[in-house]
Amino acid sequence: MTKRFRPGQLALLLVALVLAAVWLAPIAWAVATSLKPETETTKLPLEWFGSELTLDAYRLVLGTGDIVTWAINSTVTAVLVTFLTVLLSAMAAYGFARTHFRGRRALLALILAGIMVPPQVLMAPLFAEMVALGLVDTWWAIVLPQVAAPLILYVLFKFFQDVPPELEQAAFVDGAGRWRVFFTIVLPLSRPVLAAVSIFTFITTWNNFLWPFLVSTDPNTMTLPVGLANVVQGTFGLRYAQIMASVVLAGLPLLVVFVLFQRQIVRGVAHTGLAGQ
């Protein structure tokens, strides 16, 4: 479809540019501040650039090592949650969509009802459960409660229902069992939707705050958001360049993920359409 260029388009473009600038300004300000010498971060009138561009703040932040530990914790827990969530949900979704067993409908109803349960209102009982299991301050305390995702199951369930039965039949006739059909035919076929829900799960887990915050008191098991929250509450002799360097370092990975996986992220959002704030 070719579109002619009209003056209306130019006006829209200008509006969009202004809005984009407004939206990017806070992020740009964080980057600018992180590159200033510490003594110039609160200077008035505001200047976007200091007397020199310096990476001192980054060097100092990375030098303490905390942020590296938190990034490792975030990566490990987010990867574990994503892998387990997608594997278990996909298996279960396949079971519900393509096989028959007694109690199938009732179980599915029970699981779909779980979409209504916000994890935030379960913080007290879940915490008590973690204490009872002795998991507080471990990766598992962060991971396990985030794995049971009825919404992801539902999205995959809907997708598997639409897989043409002929594809499975052919494999059955060849003597393949359910598991082989699932792993060698259905999963590869579902790669786009699996990628979408994986990235969506990864982002949600990476950014989750309240739950990891409750179950990690030791800086060595904290995720990035929790570690940064400690920075918020712990810094009184404020070092703004370093704080903004931490902010940039913590925010960067997902922006990179976004640039790399734009299409899957957009699809994931459109598919799952549900996120915590």
Binding site: Q9, L19, P125, G273
Partner: protein, 305 residues
């Protein structure tokens, strides 16, 4: 498929049906791992939470007496509970309207632009990908402070964005809109792209202008998406915690404390985890009502697509 003929499936149909039956029975095995995690970390906590909300248990797990509906009765008579519930509803009302309307406006704008789509997506959706701690730190330390903060510094203002009880909630909403509008923007953008083009061509032939096309085609076609976005937004806003806790800690003078933060406060810093459960379950009840609406919308959308 030639191999199929030689395969074991060449057996009589009855045997084949038997094999098929065995496969279908195995279905339960696919479900069991998910079910185990689901029962352990979702169903059980829901049940445990009910029990805790009916007890006087503290965070150490001691003093676990059954108090019936005592916690609920206390919560309904607790002015700080009402204040935090009210704050949550105010936040939900104030945030939902701009998040939906602005999401729609941005999507319409970007949809009609043919240039540098990645730039608009990155600008408007990018902030949504930032962790709440990053967003809170950034706004708390560099955007809102009096004096050198980006807003006051740029416009020469002297507003106590987070320190003035009559302004703080608006500031929290402003940050939230900046941070999360991209989600609705993307949902609207996806919906706009799925409107059949021939509708516009037909309307153009009938001489409908841009405004008429927007009003009589685009907006009606977005009706279901809007309903979904509103419900999702209500659900997300009712659960607000992170940015408020991190930016204002609920203050000044409780003016921004949402109900999740109140539950956290009484449970994890005040140690009354039984009472915290009761407060949480009051919110839970509200969320279930909104969720039922969402579930219906979700089903409808799935049936339509």
């Amino acid at each position: 498929m030639t191999t199929a003929v030689a395969a074991p499936a060449a057996a009589p149909p009855a045997a084949e049906a038997k094999v098929r039956h065995a496969w279908t029975q195995h279905g339960l095995l696919f479900v069991v791992p998910f079910l185990a995690v689901y029962l352990a970390f979702l169903v059980w906590p829901v049940v445990l939470g009910v029990r805790m909300s009916l007890s006087s248990v503290n965070i150490a797990g001691t003093n676990d007496r059954f108090v019936g509906f005592g916690n609920y009765a206390e919560a309904f008579g607790d002015p700080r509970m009402w204040r935090s519930l009210w704050n949550t509803l105010v936040f939900t009302a104030l945030s939902t309207v701009p998040l939906v309307l602005l999401g729609l406006a941005l999507a319409l704008l970007v949809h009609h632009l043919r240039f540098v789509q990645w730039l608009w997506r990155l600008s408007f959706f990018g902030p949504f990908l930032l962790p709440s701690a990053v967003v809170s730190l950034l706004w708390l330390q560099m955007i809102y402070p009096p004096g050198y903060g980006l807003i006051n510094g740029t416009f020469g203002l002297d507003v106590l964005w987070l320190g003035d009880p009559s302004v703080a909630m608006w500031s929290v909403v402003l940050t939230t809109v900046w941070w999360t509008v991209g989600f609705n923007f993307l949902l609207y953008l996806a919906a706009l792209q799925s409107i059949p083009h021939h509708l516009y061509e037909a309307a153009a032939l009938d001489g409908a202008g841009a405004w008429a096309r927007l009003r009589s085609i685009t907006l009606p076609m977005l009706g279901r998406t809007t309903a979904l976005i509103v419900v999702l937004q209500l659900l997300a806003s009712l659960k607000v915690f992170d940015q408020i806790y991190l930016m204002t800690g609920g203050g000044p003078q409780d003016s921004t404390r949402p109900i999740i933060e109140y539950a956290y406060d009484v449970g994890f810093t005040g140690y009354r985890i039984g009472y915290a459960s009761a407060v949480s379950y009051i919110l839970f009840a509200i969320i279930v009502v909104v969720s039922l609406a969402q579930l219906r919308l979700f089903r409808k959308r799935a049936e339509d697509s």
